[in-house]
Amino acid sequence: MTFDLINSLYVFMLAGFIGFEVIRRVSPLLHTPLMSLTNALDAIAVVGAIVIAGEAKSTLSTVLGTLAVIAAMSNVVGGFLITDRMLKMFKSSKPKKP
């Protein structure tokens, strides 16, 4: 377990640095879509919920898992949908290429 924790901490640290460098470059123009997109990506927690809901280990875990799948899935669908709707609205005043 200790070994895994260290491994996970390395992954977390590296991902944190990547996130910092990538997101620092996002234009303030797109900060709202940024938040809704990261929200949708964060809903990847659904994979953990799916396993819990499907393992059928106890009634409690199945109920909690199913509720968790519902909560996360609403973020997946809603998050991607609204991000795309928002980004579609951003238009440049320069003439578009055909």
């Binding site: 997101i23 940024l34 990261t38 393992e55 059928a56 875990s61 980004l87």
Partner: protein, 462 residues
Amino acid sequence: MTPITTHLIEVAYLVATALFILALKWLSAPSTARRGVWAGELGMVLAIGGTLLHHGIVDYRWIAIGLVLGSIIGVPLGLVHMTAVPQRTALSHACGALCVTLVGTAEFYLRAPNVPRFMMAVLSLEVILGSLTFTGSLMATGKLQEILPQRPITYKGQNFVNLSLLGISILVAIYIVLNPAHKALFPLMIGIPLVFGVMMIVPIGGADMPTVISLLNSYAGLSAAAMGFVLDSKLLIIAGALDGSSGFILSVIMSKAMNRSFSNVLFGAFGQVQATAAATQEARPVHSATAEEAATILAAANTVVIVPGYGMAVAQAQHKVRELYDALTKRGVDVKFGIHPVAGRMPGHMNVLLAEADIPYDRLLDMDAINGDFPQTDVALIIGANDVTNPAARTDQSSPIYGMPILDVDKARTVMVIKRSMNPGFAGIDNPLYYLDKTLMLFGDAKGFVGDILRELTGGHA
């Protein structure tokens, strides 16, 4: 259970992780941003598809029900009106945090009492962060939707109560880490942070929402990363870390834009210290103008910078503002928009509303880009913004917002302010801008007044 499936799942997760990072990279510019959404969607489909092959899954019924119900709930949440985006975002933080808390709880009851200490520590972090983010975000949703009062609610000893709640939950967590067999204490470790989440948002006012939403975003990401530690899922750790750092960067930008620290936002409710400042001010003369006068000045200008604020969003004036932009542009006036990072109720709020109204994004400039232009600007037109234009932030050391970076509208040749009345803004801080000789106050509803100016502009020369 074949090893092939396991490898397949691993590969799907690996590709999904890469796609998530690319999604955020492509989001950096409007021209590639939509590609980013598609990358994210593809990654999500791969990850969910891979997970369904997981060997531990024996029963697909509840998964199917969850996926379908969640999608059905998600569609209306994805189709809300653009003005409702801040509360929708807060609500989605709540859903994300709820998922993490529920999974953490299920994990605990499945494993207890055989939970290794490190895992229990991370699991505690997961459910504490998850549950306080859940209720905190619901409170933020309520305030933004105006189900709850937007003004900060404070009482004596508030910070003491809040910090004690947080302290107790951490103590409970430490106890459970040392004695994972004490299952009975687990509900306490969720219950106390649930209460803390509510209490934490009670003293937060509407103007602080951009920082608070970003902070909650960060917490939601960190709790998901903690869940990744517990489940030993690198995909989850990375997605959580990306979300966590995004929320963190946004909160830093927001609090810098208000010249305040996190602790000041969370523990020092805005609007109380200013009570004395507001009381001492006397009535001073201002210049007011009619729509006709405003239209004449705007038509004669070469360059106009429009500064929108939350008032524009409340009045739903963005489409009228677009018409004004069109009318002025047609006359050869150079119209730009100056957008303060904390204008509105969440990061980037104004940009989304103006983009929705079809204003080209290259006309929307952030504070650093526009501030150098004000001295060469003929007219700065302020619609529903107040504190972010207050020159006292530069000059008056006794002002509560002293040091906050502002849009230097007072350097423009003429300043016009559309405002309902002379009542000071949300924070209750008087704005010396309104008493300048070059400032014209246009009293009225933002949407109505812009409409009146438009009629004058198009009526006379159309």
